[in-house]
Structures are given as structure tokens and as C-alpha cells.
Symmetry: C2
Subunit: 893 residues, 2 copies
């Protein structure tokens, strides 16, 4: 027996979405719960796949099954497909599992031909209407199925309007329509070489084929690529008996949401038109009315509709997006689906529905896309605003900001302090620019990836940032940047010009744009409190400053998972001391510089530990290579070369130049000594701690002195000292001893007893692979998945994202960007090994993650699955992480 | 009962080396096979460890066990320790498991005091002799055990010589000696605060303590560090009754090897002195005689000695290094051990002993240290030559060469072609220098590590190279380099000065030095043929050129494991075309350049496949990032800056400068576009193949066209096409298809059928972790352990070796440099995972290794253990690998 390719609506149900498509499954469901749905049938997605498997041939018995099903529809309605007297007309719609713009949408009135058009006239007693249906059908069908030119039809239409002297198509007389239909058919023959099919079954077959084909048109393919929808799902085809909303004033059509999709308020939200078909609403010829007005116009229908909305919400236990048609005073449901909504609405609806006992907390948690919370946490550009986008870079730190262009950090600082709103624009930022970044509303750079200095600093500060905007050509000398315009020429934006940046999308926009302010409603807090009840994994934040820690705490973080001490080294007033330390010729000189840094670091740690009092704070000792704190090598080379040239050509000031040259050359020499071919894999992390134990020693002392001070002041503190980049147990053993010795020394000096733990980042494959050994020396592990992804893939993030990950996406080489979504197969496998081996050695081992994946929902789910104790992310992602962690717990319970 | 700390010689045996030390175990063994050994006892290494465990206290009952054993020795000899009439005198010697210079060596004549010295006089009838023994004992014991000053004794000795007016100590009269002994004792009391101990048992206890302590003196610790000997082995102490070789002309002492340790010839090799003690031989006062002369002087003793040598060789089945003493015409054996030997001797002795049926082939294989074969494969500096070493760099490519200093590749080429011997000296080399390298005898660079361009190219060519010689300051302008001298000042070496370099040790030497030429003896060939019989793992070579392939084949390689195609791109005449390809603005331009490269690459592949006809050749498609083929960014920046300055200051030639400036800036822009932060983790390997499929397409075509040509000419070829740097199966699937399509196209075009395989490097952790998937698309795996080590450790080799691996060695953080000895725990774990997962998917998967570890014995053993099919290494390491592979098979059979 052949496979079942065709289902009557009454044979399906909502759960059969992958077979019947979203639309078909819901039509079936509505039919079966007794709602008024025009009868019809659905051709399965499997039929579509079989069609492609057979080299674009229909699978065996498909059309005979369609015919058989159609006969049952005919029986139900007492009409016959192709019957000149009482013809059954149908609509044909695609219906994929995920709704997909770009695919063929709808063919209405299929079944009309030169004969059945008379039957329709008969049945409706309206020749003009019947003819208009027919000419629309020819137009739509010839366009979509036969490939005739849309413009040619418009051309003919126009000529008839002119001839008859009317403005709108609906003013055309039956005679005009009749003549026009003949012209249409001639034109179709001429341009497509085919006669317009008169056989309704041939029409239907053509329409089904067109739906199948539209699955693989360019727009659909691109849409699937962007939305990561598999190519092998296929589309279903819905063939449904026609109902008409445009047969008179007791007819109409409309769409409605059961709740406000923008705010979540529990009121019907939608619009309708009397005497109109769906396409009229879309065409915008008449302005639709608010759904509430239907109550006055058709009270009975309205009551029935409200009732059905209630049934559907209860049935689907979710806010519904509904299409309906009224024919001759009778209400017909054409579609229902879960309604799309804003983040704010999603939160409110979820919380309200729990209070209405429609869903439980676990379900509520799953109703909100964690990533959408970002909208609620940052200012954003009003989505209705009209924008002039002048360039697009990487969305490095969410939010949006408008301000005057400034190219210099000092100027940014000065202007910012006067209250001026500014956007700091740089090719890239360095630690030298921090004071300018602090005062800027937003940061825009032309180079650097999602982990560039600008991006990392901005995210941490919750400041918006667009980086790596490569079409921007910045000319510091002229104090302007140039971008190519859409027209192909170049446009300059000068210092003081106003621009806006959208850190959530990467857009750079001309001028000031309207913004929506973030608001954290009580529903938001309620939902997240439920998430906290449900989730089993802790959520901490990555923060380096007391104010960031406070922000994180306000967002619900219960600890700091990563406090990067190098950001403290990079503060503008400290950099000279850090440089002095680096340029030291020997241990004694270095210790002099370190002694100056000690009280500063102590103050840093004091502040952050105090802000997080009662919660653990994981402090990572110095991680980046030392050359990051020194001037750029190329800049120095240019300086030196210029001075040499000046010496050669200019006669004056030789003395002064020579002395400066000597100084710069000495600095250049040091920079060159520290130069690394692959700094990512270079002299950093614990490797620094081993070659310069005095640096880590100073940091440990600063931590413990701050701890002792706080304990004396009565604060509860839980410091965790973290050694970065360990690859071998011996590294950790050596440095752990240094930390323990320092703690004991500080306890002895201050007479204060305090608790602390020592642990390590797991961010290099070898550490994961030998976690059983490393756990002997570590009280905790924290996965640094940014670096672990870099080393596991052998991808330098900065290089990969700008050089080849784009090609990888286009060619579908990698399913996801592994720097955004944790790679479970590779990186995840190492994490799993590390957790298992680590806990085998030390069952009480605390394990967390502090890479950027710690704030990404799918990655958080993986962390939940392998049993991590906490995730840690930037403060503004803490709510997202809390929600995602709860979803992971529900999904995998 | 207490532990047994003391063994009489007759209680031990050779196998107890770890308990009794090497010397003690062999004394016991000789005693038990009936050879004449002066009776004695050995205190175990466990006693030494117990001593340290007890805070430097003797373990319980140690001295009582010593006393009991000593009583048995007394009984055997009829003498008594401390007996004024007939005293037993003993020597006390340290005896670690591995012989260790730097530890306390020997105390002789222990047991002498003011009374027993008379007993010795009585027994020997020689008062002068007895007194001389006593004063020597006081001197030695006070120095070693009591810490008296050696110089003070010499001072007193000198005063007595002066007083008596004699030149040598042995001319001193008994009276002088007697008086001197009193002076010695006074001096010892004065300088050490202790009386010289008169109680022999106290003397013995002090000597034992001194031996134990010497285990942890600075020199011993450093020696263990260098030779990687564990610190917890401890040393044994041998207490042996004295025999005297200096009691008259029927006495003597000597050392001998049972075969020539330099050549391996089977003739007794050694020397002796009549009427002398061991220390006299060392002191060099008299010249020892060749051992053969003993036959005339003491025929019976000589015959007995020859006989004993035979017994010992048969017993130990190895060449022996023997110490003996003759007292009153009686021969005593004082030590035997396996003799150290040169590589040449090791090979000859091993092969000879198989022919003598002394050992079997498996044993012979194990008798030669694979690394030592290097000596036989390269010229080397005569080890007896006196050298002026002026600097030391990294031993980048073994061998040695002398030649005139040249700083420029063009000049090197020109001079080299005239037959001049030259050493090319550069800060670092680039592909531009290849023509100079080819003509040079050796390469010396001041920058770059073991994988720098110079090092890699030199190893491949079998040319000697010292690189990263950082004390060298090269001044191209002055055509000289400057090095600091030992005296602390600077010395310049100019172009044309002659230097020598030793690529096996990294030494740079002034002037020409005597060299030893390599010679591959028939024994060498025999031994390696046995290795081939025994080993189960294949040995291939890494080679890029036909002549290298031929060399590898001559050394016994049975295939090419890695043919790097980029080296072909770097040839001087091709670089401009490669650059043209890179600078192409679009696909069309790039294809024009690629079309020019195609015939060149085809010729390359033709040559190497032909040279290796009958064997597989694994060709890796382009691997390095494209910027490696472009000029250095900093150089371009300097150029541009100079031109800008010239424009500013100089008025003439503005036009010309401007045009050149524009061109250079364009190039700089491209270089900057290609710039990477971490090129090691950047846009290279298959990532290039995916973004520029036309490059890999050209290479695949060149390979297959060469294959078709060779097949037509009747050659058997086995091409393996290797895709580098795969991290995800999709990369390999995409590129494999490209290769397969190309092969099919070439077969269709040429009408020639040929076989080939497609596989991948496993050089990134993710590839190893997902090997089960990757094996679906790969017919072979080849471990690129250089890169795999870099990514598994997160160590950039270039940076790690120059920046922090030194500290790691000093602090014993890592047991070995993982770039030299494969890290079994981390990298090895990944390899094991990859082999298991890969073979689970594809049981017939061919797996090899082509990183530098492929030529390192311990790494080869690991490859054997995890079941690899082959190792591949540079041609000159092929013999080493063959031997190491055989040893691995024997050791793990």
C-alpha cells in the first residue's frame, strides 16, 4: 500500500506539526475541537521531500489521494470541484513547520474556469464578484504557478481602468472584467507559451507543484540559512474550501491577537474589514477597524469570536494570533498560531497566565526567549523609527546611543565631563583610552573583533559598542571618517557631527534617533524569581569594579565568577607604574614598582569584595602578556624612523632629537624583546606568575590585606584566588604554594584569620585532559571557554571572525560560531572530561564557567547537563543566564 | 626486627643495583662468580633515604649492622679494624645507582690512627709507606668529612718539602712525615674545632655520613637536574678492605676496557702503573703504560687478567670498564661496569657480539642509543680539538661546518658557486634567502627558535644550523657581528672572517676546526637491517624535494610522510607569482596567477613521486597563512614613513617618491588586511582551502597531472593527498570532494586511471576529539604533533622556547620540553583518543605521525604503543627512527 500523503483536517492534530506543517496542524486541531473551520485537506511535508527525492516528480498516488480527500470535502459541503453549477472553490497555501516568509503564500479561488465562474455567479447572485474572483485567480495563478509577468497584468488592468475612466479595480464593470479575462488568457499564452489551465484538477496539481518548488526558491533558502532551519524539513500544502469575506456587508475578514503582543495586556488586539478579503487588508486600500468595533457592528459574531479566542487560549495555553473570515454572518476560523510578541509582552503574558492558572511556573519560564531579555535591559532604538544606516560593524555590546563624534580619548573625557553626549570613534582602543571610554555614550571602532579591547571593556561597563566596522576609514589628521554610501560615493563625517550606534545589531546611523528606555517591570522580577526557584546552577557575574559588582548583584548575581585584575592594571593613572614595573632591569627595581601597585590593588580588591560581601568573589591573577601594557611596536617604529629622517634632513635641534631618539629606541628594544608571534599562546597567565613570582605575590598580598581589613570591619568575604592558564599540575602546585605562603604571612602580620580557596582556570586542552591531576592542587575549576575554544579549534578569535568564519557560515561548515555558542562536541567533550576527572580526584570540587558562553542560553544548558556549579557572565547578561539556567533545568528534568 | 641496611659483598648480586648502587652490586656479583675481590660490605641506598627521612640521623641499628658485617670481613682476612698489631684498613666509596660525578668519591686507608699506623709499619715492613698512608688519610678525611681546608694541608706539605729540600712528596723522610702528621692534627683542630678522630669506628661513621651528605651537595643536585636523575634514589656506601698497589714493584694498579671504547675493536684497551695507587694515575705524576705491556712485566697476572676480562664480558654480555690493583703479585678486582663508548664503538660492539653469539639481535638493537647515531650521520667537530667558543645558540640542525662569514644571501650564492666555504649569518632567514642557504655550508641566525624558517629548511636539507643565537649583534651596515667575550668586552667578526658552527650543540667557534667525517660502516647497515626486522612501525621521511626524498630513501625511509607544498611556493623565482596570486583583486586575477604556478607544482610533484616510486608519498596542501609570502609589515611601515619624511623635507623628486609611496602603501594595505594577531591560530591550512578553493584545486590538479604522467611512463606511484588543520568533518568533506572531483577530471582528460587516497592531519585538539566523525571522510590520519602540542598546551613554540620554557626547566615545572619529547599525558592522550575513535569508524585507517616527534626515540615508542602505522621524520633522522622503533618493539614485546 502506498504511504499516506494526504490528511483531511479531521484526521490531524496540533502535535502533527512536523508532518502537516504549522498551519495544517492547527487547522486540524481547530476542526477537532469543534471550531468552525472551512473543510479541507493537508498534503504532508513527507510528500514534499518525496517530490525532491524523485527529481521533482510527485510521489506515487499523491494526486489520487488528493482526489479522494477532495471528494469527502465535496460531500461535506454539497459542492463539487469543477461543477459548472455548484463549484467547490479552494485556497492552496504552503505550510512549513516554521513559518517562512519568501515561500509561496496563497492561491485563492482555485477551481474557477470559464464554466465554474458561472456557477459562482449563480451561487452568489453576483456576476461582478464572480468575475472579479476569476480575474484575480488567473492573475495570481499565472504569476505564481506559470511564471507570467506581474507587470503585464497590471498593464492590462490599467488600460481597462483608463478605458472605463475609473480609479480602482473594484469599480470595473462586469463587462470590462469579462473582456479583461480574455485579454489575460491571451497574454498568459503569449508570455508563458501555455494555455491557462481550465481543468480544476490540473490547476490544483500545478498549485501543489508550485508550493513544493517554493520550498527551494532563493529567498526561502536564504531565510533558512539565516534562521538555521534545516533544509530537509519540507513544506506541507493546505487545500481548503473557500469562504468569502467580500460577498457583502454581512461578510468580513480580520486578524487578531488574544492579548496585546506589544505590552502583553489581556485585551483583544486586532483589526477587521467588512466586505473584504484578506488581501484587501494587506493592500491597504481601506483602513481596517479596531477589533473592538466589531462588537457594535456584528454583536453575535463578536461574542462568538471572543468565546473562540478564549477556547483557543485555554486549548493552546498560549496567546494566539488568529485569522478569521465572516461569510454571510457566519464566522469561519482560517488560522491560529501562537502569537509573536515583544520581550515585554512575553514576560507579562507568561506571568499573567500563571496567575490565571493557565500554565505553571515551569511553563512560564519557557515562554520567554532569554536573549530577548536584552531588549528590556538596555536602551534601544525605537523599532518604528526611520533610520539612515551608514555602516554596519560587529554588535559588540548591546544598547544604543547617540552623540557627537570625537576621535580622541582626552577630548572625549573633557567634553563628556561637560555633559556633552559623545561617541568615541577610534580604529581600535587601548588601555590608554579608558578615561575617554568612561565619559563616552558609546564606542565605535573600525578594527577588532568581539573580544577586542573596546568590546570587552564596553560590555563590562554596560556601555554600547560597535566594533570592527571595516568600511569606516578614519582619518585622525582630518578629524573625520569616510564611509561609502549606498550610491557608491564617499561621505565624510566630521568631529562634532552627530551619529547613533546600535550595539545590538552593529548599525551606525546618521543623526539622533528615537530611543526606548529599558524598564524592569514587576513581572520581570517575578519571572526571574521563579527562574531562581527552578534552576539548579548558580549564576555569577564577571566584574572588575565595585560598581559593576553592585550592578551584577542588583541583577541577581550571587557571586563574582571572574574578576580580571589586569583591568585594574590598565587604569590610566596606573599604567606608568605598570610600565615602570615591566621595564625594570632587575628584581629590585621591579619590586619598587610593585610596592607602588600594592596599595592600589588592595583598594580594588577591598572595593569589590565589600560590594559582594556575603558572596564568593573569584579573583584571577594577572593574565595578559606584559607587552599589552606597553606602546604599540609599529607606532614606535614610525616614531624612530621619523626622528632618524629629521636628523638627516633637519639641522636644528639635533641634540634634542638625539636624546629623544635614544629613549624611544630603548623602549622599542624592550617592546621587541617582549614581542610575541602568537601572544594568545605566549608568555601570559601563570607563565608570568612562574617567571615573575613577585607579581603574583604582590597580587595575593593585596587580596589578603584587603580581606583582613574587611574581616576586621565585620564583613563576610569569600575570596577565591584563581591561577590562569594552567596546563600542568606543577604550575599550579608552585603558584598555589606562593598564594598559601602569602595568606599565612598576612594572617601572621595582621593577626586576622580568614578563609580563602585557591583554584584554576581550565582554558587549555591539556588542563582538561589532566584534570584528575590538577584537581589535587585546585579547590575549584573555572572554564575559560573563550580561550578553550581558541585552543581546541586552533582558532584565534580575532583572526577567525574577520578572516574566515564568514565563509564557514556561508558554506555551512560549522553549525554555529563556536565563540558564541559553545561547541558541545569538541570543547564540550573536553569540559565533560575535566569535570569527571576533576571530581574523581576531589568530589567536592567547585566547577564553573566564566567565558562568554556563560551568558549564552544553549551553552548554559550544556553547563547544566554536565553538572557545573555555576555560570558567570557580564552583569547585563545575568538575568538572561538566570532564565536560561531555569529553562535548562525544566527541559532536562 | 630492624631492616637490613648492610650487605656483605657475598650477599648481593648485579640485579640489586637500585639497593646496592652500581659499584656495590657489581662488587657483589664479581665476588659471587669467584673473582678475587677484596672483602667488604655495602650500606644500602635505602639507608641513605632513611637518613634523610630522619632529619639526617642514621636509621636505627645501622652502625651495629656495619659492625657485625665488618667482623665477618675481619674474620675472612684475619685482621681487626683498629687492631694496633694487625689493623684492617678500609676504603669508603659512594655508589649511586647511576654514577654521578660531583659526589664524594673515595676515602682510602680508613682505620689508621696513631696506633694502627705502627701495625701497618709492622705488616709492610715499611715505615715511610705507613706514615705516608696515614698523612694521606688525614688529609683526605679532614678535607672531605671534617671540612678542613685543602690549601692549608698543601701549605704544610710545601713547608716540609722546603725544609727537607725535596721536590716531591714521596721524597719526604719518615721523620718529616711523622712531624707533619702532628702539624696536620694541630691544624685540623684549629680550623675545624674538632680533634682528628682516633677511634676507627668514629672515622667510619663520619665517612658514611659524608657519603650520605654528598648525595645532596650542589654539584650532585645540578648533575641530577641535567641528567634527569630522580632526587630520591639515594646513594649506597661501599666499605671495602684495602689492597695496596704501591707497596713495591710487585704491586700496581690499572684500568681497562675489554674492547676499544672508541672504535669497538675487540682488543684490550687500558693502562696501568707499577707501584702506584689509583690516585697516582689520576694525578698524572707518572705516565701510565699501555695494558699490553703488563704481559711482559707480569705475565701470570696479565694472563689472569685477560682471563677475568673474558669471564666478565661473558658474564655481563657487554663490554666492561674494569679497575684492578695488584698487591704483592696478586690481582684484585676493584670495580667492573658496562663501559661507556662512542656511537661507532657501540654499533660495532653490538654487531660483533651477535656474531660472537654473546647476545641476540634484540639485545644488540638495545645496545645503541638512537640519538647517538646522529654522530655517525653528520660531520662533527673532533671532540679532542681545542676550541674558542664565541657564542652558543640553539642546536637547530646537526652537523658542523666552517666557512667565511657572509651576511647576504645573494653574496652567499655568488661566493658559494665559486667553491668558497661560507657560513650565512642573518638575524633570521626568509624564503628570499633560500638561494643563499643552498650554497652555504651552514646557517647562523641571531633570532628564531627550533622551528624558525632557517631551522626547518636546514634540517630538511641536512645542512647544519645554529639559530636563535641571541648574544650575536648583527650590524648589516658594517657587515659584522659583535659578541661579548668571556672577559666582558665586545669582539667584532667581519665579513670574510672564518668561523665554525656546531649544529649538534649550538656552539659558534672562532676559525676553522678539525672535523670528523661521517662514515656508515657495514656494522651500521647490519644493525639497522636487524632493526627493520624487529620493528613493527613504518618509518617514512619528511621531504619536499626529489633530492631529499632520494636521501631519505638511501637512509631507509619507505615513504614520504610529509611533503610540504609551501616550500615549493617559497622558491625565489616563484615568490613573485605567489605574491601576484595573493594580491589578486578577484577570482579571475587569482586564477591567472594560479595557472602560472600549476606547471611548476606539477614538476615538483613529478620529481618527488618519481624519486619515491613504489612507496607512498603524502602531499600536504598549502598550509601557512598567505602573509608569510608577503614582505614584512614593519619594513613596509619604515619605508612608507621614510618616503613621507623625504616628501616633507626634500624638494626634488617629489613625483617619483609619490608614485613609489602610493605603490608601497597599497602593498602595506594588503599586508595589513592579511595581518593576524595569532597567525598560528589564523587563516591557514584548510581554512585557506575553503576560502580559496581555487588554490587547493590547482594543487590537486598539479598532483594528479604528475601522477598521470608518471603512470604513463610506467612508474608505480602512491599519492596521498593530505588536508591540513581540519577541525570539523565538514571542512574535510568539502575539500575531499574538491580533490575527488579534480582527480576524476584529470583521469577523464588524460585517460589514465590511477589510485590515490585523501586524508588529513590531526593537529588540533578538536580533530582528535571528533576523530570518529572525521574518519568518515579520511582514509588516513597523520598527527601533526608540532601544532597539536602548541594547541594542547596553548604554547606558541617560538614564544615559549625563548620566553618561559627555560624557567620551566629550571623550576622543574615540566619534565621535558614537550616540543622535543612528546607529552604522553596530554598530547598523547589526544592521540590515543583519535586512534581509537578513528579506527572505530574505519578499521583500516592508516595512522602516522609527521611532527618532529616522529624522529625522537621516546615519542616513537609512544607511537608504537598506541598502534600507529608509521612515523615520519627528517631524512637524517630516519636511521635513528628505525633503531628507536625496533627498541620500542623489543621493550614492549
Amino acid at each position: 500500500m502506498s504511504k499516506k500523503w494526504v490528511y483531511l483536517f479531521e484526521e490531524g492534530k496540533a502535535e502533527m506539526k512536523s508532518l502537516l506543517g504549522g498551519k495544517g496542524a492547527n487547522l486540524a486541531e481547530m476542526t477537532n475541537i469543534g471550531l468552525p473551520v472551512p473543510p479541507g485537506l493537508t498534503i504532508t511535508t513527507e510528500a514534499c521531500n518525496a517530490y525532491y527525492d524523485h527529481g521533482k516528480d510527485f510521489p506515487e498516488s499523491l494526486m489520487s489521494q488528493v482526489k479522494a480527500a477532495l471528494e469527502q470535502v465535496e460531500a461535506k459541503l454539497g459542492k463539487k470541484f469543477g461543477d459548472p453549477q455548484n463549484p467547490l472553490l479552494v485556497s492552496v497555501r504552503s505550510g512549513a513547520v516554521f513559518s517562512m516568509p519568501g515561500m509561496m503564500d496563497t492561491i485563492l479561488n482555485l477551481g474557477l474556469n470559464d464554466e465554474t465562474v458561472n456557477g459562482l455567479t449563480e451561487a452568489t447572485q453576483n456576476r461582478r464578484f464572480a468575475l472579479d474572483c476569476y480575474r484575480r485567480f488567473i492573475q495570481m495563478y499565472s504569476d505564481v504557478v506559470l511564471g507570467a509577468s506581474h507587470a503585464e497584468f497590471e498593464h492590462i488592468l490599467e488600460s481597462y481602468r483608463d478605458k472605463q475612466g475609473v480609479r480602482f479595480d473594484n469599480e470595473l464593470s462586469p463587462e470590462s472584467l469579462s473582456a479583461m479575462i480574455e485579454d489575460f488568457k491571451v497574454m498568459v499564452k503569449k508570455t508563458t507559451g501555455q494555455l491557462f489551465p481550465q481543468d480544476p484538477m490540473a490547476q490544483l496539481e500545478g498549485a501543489i507543484r508550485a508550493v513544493f518548488s517554493s520550498w527551494n526558491n532563493d529567498r526561502a533558502i536564504i531565510y533558512r540559512q539565516i534562521h538555521k532551519i534545516p533544509d530537509d524539513l519540507g513544506t506541507a500544502v493546505n487545500v481548503q474550501s473557500m469562504v468569502f469575506g467580500n460577498m457583502g456587508n454581512d461578510c468580513g475578514t480580520g486578524v487578531a491577537f488574544t492579548r496585546n503582543p506589544s505590552t502583553g495586556e489581556k485585551t483583544l488586539y486586532g483589526e477587521y474589514l467588512i466586505n473584504a478579503q484578506g488581501e484587501d487588508v494587506v493592500a491597504g486600500i481601506r483602513t481596517p477597524l479596531h477589533i473592538s468595533l466589531l462588537q457594535e457592528e456584528m454583536p453575535a459574531v463578536f461574542d462568538q469570536f471572543v468565546n473562540i479566542c478564549g477556547i483557543l487560549e485555554k486549548h493552546y495555553r498560549n496567546m494566539q494570533d488568529i485569522e478569521f473570515t465572516i461569510q454571510g454572518g457566519k464566522l469561519w476560523m482560517l488560522q491560529t498560531r501562537n502569537g509573536k510578541r515583544t520581550a515585554a509582552a512575553a514576560v507579562k503574558i507568561a506571568v499573567d497566565m500563571v496567575e490565571e492558572n493557565l500554565i505553571n511556573k515551569e511553563e512560564a519560564i519557557q515562554r520567554v526567549e532569554p536573549e530577548h531579555l536584552d531588549q528590556l535591559l538596555h536602551r534601544r532604538i525605537d523599532p518604528t523609527a526611520k533610520l539612515t544606516v551608514i555602516a554596519t560593524g560587529l554588535p559588540a555590546s548591546p544598547g544604543a546611543a547617540s552623540g557627537k563624534i570625537v576621535f580622541d580619548a582626552d577630548e572625549a573625557e573633557a567634553l563628556g565631563k561637560t555633559g556633552e553626549k559623545i561617541i568615541l570613534v577610534r580604529t581600535e582602543t587601548t588601555p590608554d583610552d579608558i578615561h575617554g571610554i568612561v565619559q563616552a555614550q558609546g564606542i565605535l571602532t573600525s578594527r577588532g573583533g568581539m573580544t577586542s579591547h573596546a568590546a570587552v571593556v564596553a560590555r563590562q561597563m554596560g556601555k554600547t559598542c560597535v566594533c570592527g566596522c571595516e568600511t569606516l576609514r578614519i582619518d585622525y589628521a582630518r578629524q573625520e571618517f569616510i564611509v561609502p554610501t549606498a550610491a557608491g560615493d564617499l561621505k565624510a563625517y566630521k568631529k562634532g557631527d552627530t551619529i547613533s550606534i546600535d550595539g545590538s545589531t552593529g548599525r551606525v546611523i546618521e543623526g539622533v534617533v528615537p530611543m526606548l528606555e529599558p524598564e524592569l517591570t514587576s513581572e520581570f522580577q517575578t519571572l526571574l524569581s521563579w527562574a531562581d526557584e527552578i534552576r539548579t546552577i548558580g549564576v555569577r557575574a564577571n566584574a572588575d569594579k565595585p560598581q559593576e559588582a553592585a550592578q551584577a548583584r542588583a541583577f541577581g548575581a550571587t557571586g563574582i565568577g571572574l574578576c580580571r585584575t589586569e583591568h585594574m592594571f590598565m587604569a590610566q593613572e596606573r599604567l606608568p607604574i605598570v610600565q615602570e614595573m615591566i621595564l625594570s632591569q632587575n628584581l629590585e627595581e621591579r619590586q619598587v614598582a610593585l610596592a607602588k601597585l600594592l596599595p592600589m590593588q588592595q583598594e580594588d580588591f577591598y572595593g569589590i569584595l565589600k560590594a559582594m560581601s556575603g558572596f564568593p568573589v573569584c579573583i584571577r591573577l594577572l593574565d595578559p602578556p606584559l607587552h599589552e601594557f606597553l606602546p604599540n611596536e609599529e607606532d614606535l617604529v614610525v616614531e624612530v624612523t621619523k626622528m632618524r629622517c629629521a636628523l638627516e634632513y633637519a639641522d636644528d635641534q639635533k641634540e634634542a632629537i638625539l636624546s629623544k631618539l635614544e629613549e624611544t629606541e630603548a623602549l622599542l628594544k624592550k617592546v621587541r624583546t617582549l614581542h610575541e608571534f602568537n601572544p594568545m599562546l605566549g608568555h601570559r597567565g601563570c607563565r608570568l606568575g612562574i617567571t615573575y613570582p613577585e607579581i603574583y605575590g604582590m597580587q595575593a598580598r593585596a587580596i589578603f590585606q584587603a580581606v583582613a581589613q574587611l574581616v576586621q570591619e565585620g564583613y563576610e568575604v569569600e575570596p577565591e584566588v584563581e591561577i590562569p592558564l594552567v596546563v600542568h599540575i606543577n604550575e599550579l602546585a608552585f603558584l598555589r604554594q606562593l598564594v598559601v605562603d602569602t595568606a599565612e604571612a598576612v594572617m601572621a602580620e595582621t593577626g586576622v584569620k580568614f578563609e580563602y580557596t585557591v583554584g584554576t582556570m581550565i582554558e587549555v586542552p591539556r588542563a582538561a585532559l589532566t584534570a584528575d591531576q590538577i584537581a589535587k592542587e585546585a579547590q575549584f575549576f573555572s572554564f575559560g571557554t573563550n580561550d578553550l575554544t581558541q585552543t581546541t579549534f586552533g582558532f584565534s578569535r580575532d583572526d577567525a571572525e574577520s578572516k574566515f568564519l564568514g565563509y564557514y557560515r556561508d558554506r555551512k561548515i560549522l553549525p554555529e560560531n563556536p565563540f558564541i555558542v559553545l561547541d558541545r562536541e569538541g570543547v564540550g567533550q573536553l569540559m565533560k572530561i575535566a569535570v569527571e576527572k576533576g571530581r574523581a580526584t576531589r568530589p567536592e570540587l567547585l566547577v564553573g564557567i566564566c567565558g562568554e558562553h556563560g551568558g549564552e542560553p544553549s551553552s548554559i544548558e550544556f553547563c547544566h547537563l554536565i553538572g557545573l556549579d555555576f555560570v558567570s557572565c557580564s552583569p547585563y547578561r545575568v538575568p538572561i543566564a538566570r532564565l536560561a539556567a531555569a529553562q535548562a533545568a525544566v527541559k532536562n528534568s
